[in-house]
Symmetry: C2
DNA sequence: CTAGTTGCAAAGAGTTTGCATGGCG
DNA sequence: CGCCATGCAAACTCTTTGCAACTAG
């Protein structure tokens, strides 16, 4: 049995509303307003939602924190994500391209990629043009 | 001026000898033998080597630790790495395949991938067959 | 009512830092 | 000999856990 507490709802809704960004526990706590949720409730709910497969847990290079992202397993399982190291946004790779990458890698190395859980790191178009200005 | 202390040499050599695996600070400390290096020297040297571009710093999903890997920028810059989530080994993707991935993603999304720093996560052939047994 | 959740505070785990000592060049 | 690096211990940051109070169903 799982109760729908105010805190859990707030947390999940916040992540759902920003499906293309990763947040660490601190950012989530701040976004929900500090007086509405305690840090331990943040962590406990994140752990619970993760084991339910509703959110994904990742790490960002060079950071000590763990990041979380809403993960719609239905719509995410068929593509690869592109993660922008500068702005933290997540982009979705076109399906045809993702398929060809998966096929190539599996044939070449026997390496099995789970598309829904694969992320390629780089710099997005916006951050690129911004830095050129 | 940088001194070549015994500790720094041991650390770098250890990573050089295992170019295809990631290690956390604890593993490195243990591998070098605890009485030859202190934990703080491990961290300080890792930070120094990283800023020199001699090693790479990464994170492993679901782990609080930070991982380090020897990074030969000369030989690594032209390919994408495949990281096995189960055994922690790193595989090198064939250049032709890496090129086509980079080209596809850049044309589709304007997303810029730095090949030397890109890692795709999955499960390698060995771990796959092992789990089937 | 009662089992699941919360908030708080304390404990853990990994990493960083200050300082006196030691060693490379 | 002078500066850099080391070892130790303490400080920090992020996360987890124990416990009593609270609340959804």
């Amino acid at each position: 049995m799982v109760y729908n507490t105010e805190q859990r709802t707030l947390l999940l809704n916040f992540l759902k509303e920003h499906p293309d960004t990763m947040f660490c526990a601190k950012q989530i706590e701040a976004a929900i307003q500090k007086d509405c949720i305690s840090r331990s409730a943040v962590y406990r709910n994140l752990a619970e939602l993760e084991s339910d497969g509703k959110i994904k847990r990742c790490s960002k290079a060079g950071s000590r924190e763990v990041y979380y992202q809403y993960f719609d397993s239905q719509s995410c399982k068929n593509h690869i994500h592109l993660f922008c190291k500068q702005c933290g946004k997540i982009f979705h790779m076109e399906n045809k391209i993702a398929d060809s990458i998966v096929n190539n890698v599996e044939q070449d190395n026997g390496f099995e990629i789970n598309k829904g859980e694969t992320t390629i790191y780089g710099v997005c178009r916006d951050c690129n043009t911004r830095s050129i200005k």
